[in-house]
């Protein structure tokens, strides 16, 4: 079985990563804080003032371990990668289908089916678990409206209409998202999704989690030899990873949103761990960011039965599994792309 690989997140400012035999050594002020074998890692993510030796970069590239550099607040700066991997014929097929209206529509619909079904599942789960704490009626109505959106989506064949259904579904879902916050209501209030920049604590959490999910999704696509820039639901735009955005749609609700909710509801993050800048932008302090990353990593180790493959996988492997299924569909092994649908 493909082993679940960890991502090493380095948030300590001034840390220096180097290669030590077959291991990564993390040094802070001449003091080795951590040594970990490269073959247990899937990726390394460095936040802020963290540097790496070129030999470690080469070693990681050779072993398929991605290294990304983000700002302290989690904005992407750069990443190190080895030679482009995979099959050029597969990438050609990816581009051909992106140029073909009919294929694009089918893939966009599959991707959105995953997303909307998962948004609905997150709401249904809340109805089941917290019936007494939430506005049952409002959330039930949203669940029904999302079911309606799924049915409508299924009979559509115009990509613009499909993008419209996505916008509607996002509104239905985020309009009741505040109901899912069942603790620390004074500190964590959600009214509307905003991201550039995030203007409140919940949006700040969501944005940060989406950034890490994006990183994992993009790495997985590159690993299976797909071009993360060329998507189907998301149109090409220079500098945007269209396919990574497509593929991460199904992960947003069940993975990022649920981690954000459990952090708040279980009190693993507190209101005082966030800071408001002069411009109104909200960001989190180091301790909060660490708490988010620890919870995210723990979540990745959870085992589930994959609904399509009917096999046990860890959540952390889902990115790779879905990227692989996507490639399989492009190659014609399957008659549709089967997104990960959470129950």
């Amino acid at each position: 079985m493909k082993r679940h690989l960890n991502t090493l997140f380095v948030t300590t400012q001034g840390a220096y990563l180097s290669k030590d035999g077959e291991t990564v050594a993390v040094k802070v002020e001449d003091d080795i804080r951590l040594r970990t074998p490269v073959h247990t890692l899937g990726g390394i993510v460095c936040f802020g003032q963290v540097s790496c030796s070129p030999f470690l970069m080469g070693f990681c590239a050779e072993h398929g371990v991605s290294i990304s550099f983000l700002t302290e607040t989690g904005n992407f700066l750069a990443k190190v990668q080895g030679p482009v991997s995979g099959n050029v014929l597969l990438r050609r097929e990816q581009y051909r289908q992106a140029d073909d209206a009919k294929s694009s529509v089918e893939i966009a619909k599959a991707v959105l089916t995953g997303k909307i079904a998962n948004c609905r599942a997150v709401l249904s789960r809340a109805l089941r678990d917290h019936a007494e704490k939430i506005d049952f009626e409002a959330v039930s109505l949203a669940v029904n409206r999302l079911s309606g959106a799924l049915t409508k989506l299924h009979s559509e064949s115009d990509i613009e209409v499909i993008r419209g259904i996505e916008g509607e579904s996002a509104n239905i879902y985020f309009n009741v998202f505040d109901h899912l916050i069942t603790a620390q209501k004074d500190d964590f209030k959600f009214s509307v999704r905003n991201r550039r920049p995030p203007l409140d604590k919940v949006n700040c959490l969501l944005s940060f989690l989406y950034t890490i999910v994006m990183h994992d999704t993009r790495s997985a696509l590159e690993t299976v030899g797909l071009d993360p820039a060329v998507g189907y639901l998301h149109r090409d735009r220079p500098g945007r990873y269209g396919l990574a955005l497509d593929l991460m749609e199904e992960f947003r609700p069940v993975f990022a949103d649920r981690v954000a909710l459990s952090l708040i509801n279980l009190g693993q993050v507190q209101g005082k761990g966030f800071d408001k800048k002069e411009s109104g932008a909200v960001w989190m302090d180091d301790e909060t960011r660490k708490a988010v990353l620890v919870t995210y990593q723990k979540r990745k180790q959870d085992e589930i039965i994959h609904p399509f493959l009917k096999e046990k996988v860890t959540i952390g492997l889902l990115f790779h599994t879905q990227a692989l299924l996507f490639a399989r569909h492009l190659r014609g092994d399957m008659d549709a792309y089967p997104p990960f649908i959470w129950k």
Binding site: M1, K2, H39, H63, G64, S85, G86, N87, L89, L90, A110, T113, G114, A117, S147, L150, T151, L153, H154, V224, G225, P307, F308, L309, K310, E311, L324, L325, R328, H329, R331, D333, M334, D335, A336, Y337, P338, P339, I341
Partner: protein, 206 residues
């Protein structure tokens, strides 16, 4: 006759005899799962490559010998080639090191025979036999390059070229040997081909 541009890795032949889809995944789709097996295999090979040559009474050994055959369209390396002195001639005797134990199929034998055919073409000699050494059993098994094995090897090389030229990865069919395949997770042989009905289920559910 093939040209130098058409040559395929000798190791692909072993993959091909084991499973055509595994071969296509590695050589067409370029997936490679560096799992424990391949790492251990590589370390063993590196160990073999590290030594250069030895000679002891009546046997010379060369390690990491580059090979190719334009007739079969193959290129690769032999772990080791022993040269056995017979009268005034040194007869090549290829030896391939394998990590595991002898396999039920012929894939290792075919790979070894292909090495012999390369050597025959390059050195213009006839090679009657070679050996497979298995790490798990710590024993070597002598393989005779008889007509049946040669015919099988040549046929496999022809079909291998046809597969790589077609650039189409065959569909998966699950069987017992999938359990000992290092690409099981990249291949997903049991995945259903019908994803559309799975999608429909998600839409119909409330």
């Amino acid at each position: 006759m093939y040209t130098e541009d058409d040559l395929i890795q000798l190791s692909a032949l072993q993959h091909f005899v084991f499973c055509e889809r595994q071969c296509a995944l590695i050589h067409i789709e370029r997936v490679w799962n560096e799992n424990l097996f391949t790492v251990e295999g590589r370390i063993m090979h590196e160990h073999v490559d590290a030594a250069k040559r030895e000679a002891r009474g009546g046997i010379r050994i060369e390690y990491g010998v580059p090979l190719r055959s334009l007739r079969l369209g193959l290129i690769g390396k032999a772990d080791a080639v022993e040269f056995h002195k017979e009268d005034d001639n040194w007869i090549p005797f290829p030896v391939e090191y394998k990590r595991g134990k002898p396999k039920p199929d012929n894939c290792d034998k075919v790979q070894l025979c292909a090495q012999a055919l390369c050597l025959e073409e390059m050195l213009n000699v006839e090679i009657p036999e070679g050996a497979l050494f298995y790490g798990r059993t710590r024993r070597r098994y002598v393989v005779a390059f008889d007509n049946a094995l040669r015919t099988e090897t040549e046929g496999a090389a022809r079909k291998l070229h046809a597969l790589i030229e077609s650039a189409v990865t065959p569909m998966a069919e699950y069987s017992d040997k999938c359990k000992r395949c290092s690409l099981l997770d990249q291949c997903l042989p049991r995945a259903s081909k019908k994803a559309s009905s799975y999608l429909m289920k998600a839409i119909e559910e409330d």
